[in-house]
Symmetry: C2
Subunit: 322 residues, 2 copies
Amino acid sequence: MHPFSSKPGETVSALGEEKLITRIRRWLGPVSPPAPLGIGDDCAVLAPSKRAQAVTVDPVIYGRHFDDAVPPRAVGAKLLKRNLSDLAAMGAAPVAAVLAITLDPGVRIAWLEQFYRGLASCARAYRLRVIGGDIAQNTGALAASLTLIGRATTPRMLLRTGARAGDHIYTTGTLGGSLLGKHYRFTPRLAEGAWLAARAEVRSMMDISDGIAKDLHSLTPAGARAEIDATAIPISAAAKKMARGDNRPPLVHALCDGEDYELLFTVAAKTNLPAFDKKWRARFPKTPLARIGRFVPLHAPRAPGAIDLAAHHGYEHLAIAR
Amino acid sequence: MHPFSSKPGETVSALGEEKLITRIRRWLGPVSPPAPLGIGDDCAVLAPSKRAQAVTVDPVIYGRHFDDAVPPRAVGAKLLKRNLSDLAAMGAAPVAAVLAITLDPGVRIAWLEQFYRGLASCARAYRLRVIGGDIAQNTGALAASLTLIGRATTPRMLLRTGARAGDHIYTTGTLGGSLLGKHYRFTPRLAEGAWLAARAEVRSMMDISDGIAKDLHSLTPAGARAEIDATAIPISAAAKKMARGDNRPPLVHALCDGEDYELLFTVAAKTNLPAFDKKWRARFPKTPLARIGRFVPLHAPRAPGAIDLAAHHGYEHLAIAR
């Protein structure tokens, strides 16, 4: 659905702020608790938390994170799931979200309704509340930014730091070609993230948003480099399909495409890997798991078949104008 | 300063994402703690909280909340202060902020640096940390949305609900004409808000963002109406100045202009008002306090000199296209 309409009666300009907020609360339904726990006071009141909390923020912008081909329900869900994936990467569980939206007055009410209903449906599925928000007008704009607050599911959060030379590198799912649909149809790996955070042999974790060629640097400890086995990379069917269209190898798509929303994590060198893999398969029989390599000392000779990650680049957000 | 430049070397497009984030962290300085407490991991880790927490979100948008006449440092400070004013209205104290910014690639680095430095300076003054953020590119855009997390300073938060017929209505400061400069030069009433939240006779509170003609409805209990004494409204010098320019009465500016960022609160009917006022003056000798009226039963006859608030309208955010 195209989000804009030239018929004023179909657009948010026909509502004004108060009526629009009333509608939004209706579209959100039970996901939107009454004030002061939700929308309607100067702030939303959030309960005390005995556990450490995790906070993240990510937007969706028309023309950038979605276009007319993505159903508005899926746009709302994507906005929340992008942030849920960040919580998953810490091993945290979602609690509450606040949503700031910037709208052209010509945005269709029907588009916005589906956007909020998709967001609400996803929030119900992951048991979190939408506790606050802001609506602002801006000519030509359709952008929403969601801040998500979660809490630790175990005594620790799983950070990007913590890996050591010798540690093994794992990824969930399959990689590449997200633009063909996964970028909004993905399932954030919350259960997997919490399970991993509870296992002492797992030392660091992140979600893959810009391709592992770029993201893996964030996990790499000082004095080490990632030795990645090209044959172990779980290449998605979508990466292969895209490769047929653009003549870039499927492996390059798997390494460099953005928006995989999979978990990338490291396991201590001495771990019994077959036992680890077996526990994973017992708990997550439907989530693929691949051991793709390990960290080696910086000047260790390159193994045959190993990928030179420095030759690849992940997704660069602000590179367009260069 | 005009935020955009046609010389690519002066703009964020010359930096790319990673370098831009490095700069932003430098501009924020000590206000930006190292990961995982701040920018640099998938989420920021926020400490457990024994007290109830307050969450709010507000944006600044170019052409809407600021223009070339507002120094970029002041824009950064305004973004934070708008949110601080919402915390003040609950009697809460700030803890941490996350910032989502949407940029055209042609935004000047120099503008952005001053924006972040202004935000950082304000964050230092109010002792909060900027713990996370997101940068996204969007053609033609310059907008930032800040989510602020605070904690209660007393066992209760002061809500918009709670007033009863008979209760007195107070406002801090002076009202109207904010566009002449106060809209970014104001001081959020955090100390005043916390002091009021600690006093049992204060029953409800909000900050004035859209003019009391509109905002007062949010405090009005069912079965009551606000009886406001026109002569008691603290009209600002700016409201009088604007009135000379546009021939609307100063009182109308005081009632209807947006962005006052003052506290509007109610005090229980039986309170010893002279004693209350005296305590206020002892604690906040520089913050004007005005008792502007009280809530009366809905069908009580209108007092002579009372304002009919229904005849006035506050600032309406999405009304432009109607």
